[in-house]
């Protein structure tokens, strides 16, 4: 496992997310309304659509394709058609950078 520099803290608006690609995989990094950062796999578990074009609303991310929802803090699938939880990844803020732990 290693901490990977993903983006600056100012690169993501509050209550929004960005896509982060690394090592042939894609991730989603979230800036929650309370100022904390979170990370999950970047593709929806329903039909592998990038979540980065979705909508962050409080603790949830809504997939842009069929409006399935996940809690991005827990990864829990909340609303059909998503049934499989999203994988989470640890995140930390170092100075003004956001790092994601990947292995």
């Amino acid at each position: 496992m290693a901490w990977i520099d993903a983006c600056g803290v100012d690169d993501i608006d509050a209550e929004d997310l960005i896509r982060f690609d690394h090592g042939g995989a894609t991730y989603a990094i979230y800036h929650a309304p309370d100022g904390t950062f979170h990370a999950t796999d970047g593709l929806c578990t329903h039909e592998q659509v990038h979540l980065c074009n979705g909508l962050v609303d409080g603790d949830t991310i809504e997939c842009p394709k069929h409006n399935g929802r996940f809690n991005y803090r827990t990864g829990a699938a909340l609303r059909a058609p998503v049934c499989i939880d999203l994988k989470r990844h640890p995140v930390r803020v170092v100075g003004d950078r956001v790092e994601i732990e990947l292995g």
Partner: protein, 366 residues
Amino acid sequence: MSIFTRIYAPRDYSLTGASRAHAEEIGLASAEWYHSDVPRKEMKALMQRSDGPAIRDTVIWLGLLVLTGIGGCYFWGTWACVPFFFVYGLLYGSACDSRWHEAGHGTAFKTPWMNDVVYQIASFMVMRNPTTWRWSHARHHTNTIIVGLDPEIGFMRPPRIVMAALNFIGIPFIFYDLRTLARHAFVGLNEGEKTYIPESERYKAVFWARLHIAIYVATILLAIGLHSWLPLMLIGGPRIYGCWHMYMTGLIQHGGLAEDVVDHRLNSRTVYMNPVSRWLYWNMNYHVEHHMFPMVPYHALPRLHEAIKHDLPAPNPSIYAAYVEMTRALLRQRKDPTHYARKALPATARPYRDEFHEIEVAREGV
């Protein structure tokens, strides 16, 4: 064999047949669809949810349903009940479709349980199994008008125009819908439905189908007990006498347009409509916009239309104009199933995935 021949001969609309295999083989199943460019900040603003507009519309919708239902009952047996049931039927048998649709997407309200409640009520009114149709509609959005993959293709070629016209009085389709509910309740899902509904969800389809059937049976028994059609005028019947607006607007969503293209600008129709129809239809007349960006709630679709209309075909200026375009295409499709109304993209639009658009070019040359 040209791509034209491979795509169009023969057409098998089942979800388990040759067209499905072919669509998967040429990459239509997992294709990336065209999206107009909208800056992220603007799109975020368009996607924002709010309870206000849908609460207002739902209070008006259900309030008018109760008032016109009471009026219809009060004047039952006289001609004075006709205008009440005309409006009641429209609100029950037509507006239910747009409420079902928007709440199913979860975009009507910001609060999830409100979407769920309206979705269940509207599913009952429109005689759709809330579980199977939630999944079929997701598939419709993944594979819009892709033959062999989309379970919601309204016009299969060659089109059956008389049957489509009968839609306006709900017959015989209400019987198909009831038969489908009965099958879900007592037999189960068919093979096509199993292609898009995960196993873990199937028991819900059985539960809802049984509940719906139980309500219809109770209504029929009540009508028999009272020796009156009135219970059926209030429950179930509006799906016959009030569904005309739902079909009038629904058939032109994709009717007569291209199949097997991965660009909603070519297989969906945006139509300018009068404000009453737009309210009943919850702005689904902006159908290209809805398919391209299903995250945008109904009340923001006019704004989305303004933002991207430079990149879309010219909208049909009226319901009538849409019917003229669609009917011409359908009449030709009876003899030439490869024909379709070809939407012209504006000069400023960016074409996309030319290898799929060449299907049209090949067809035009035939």
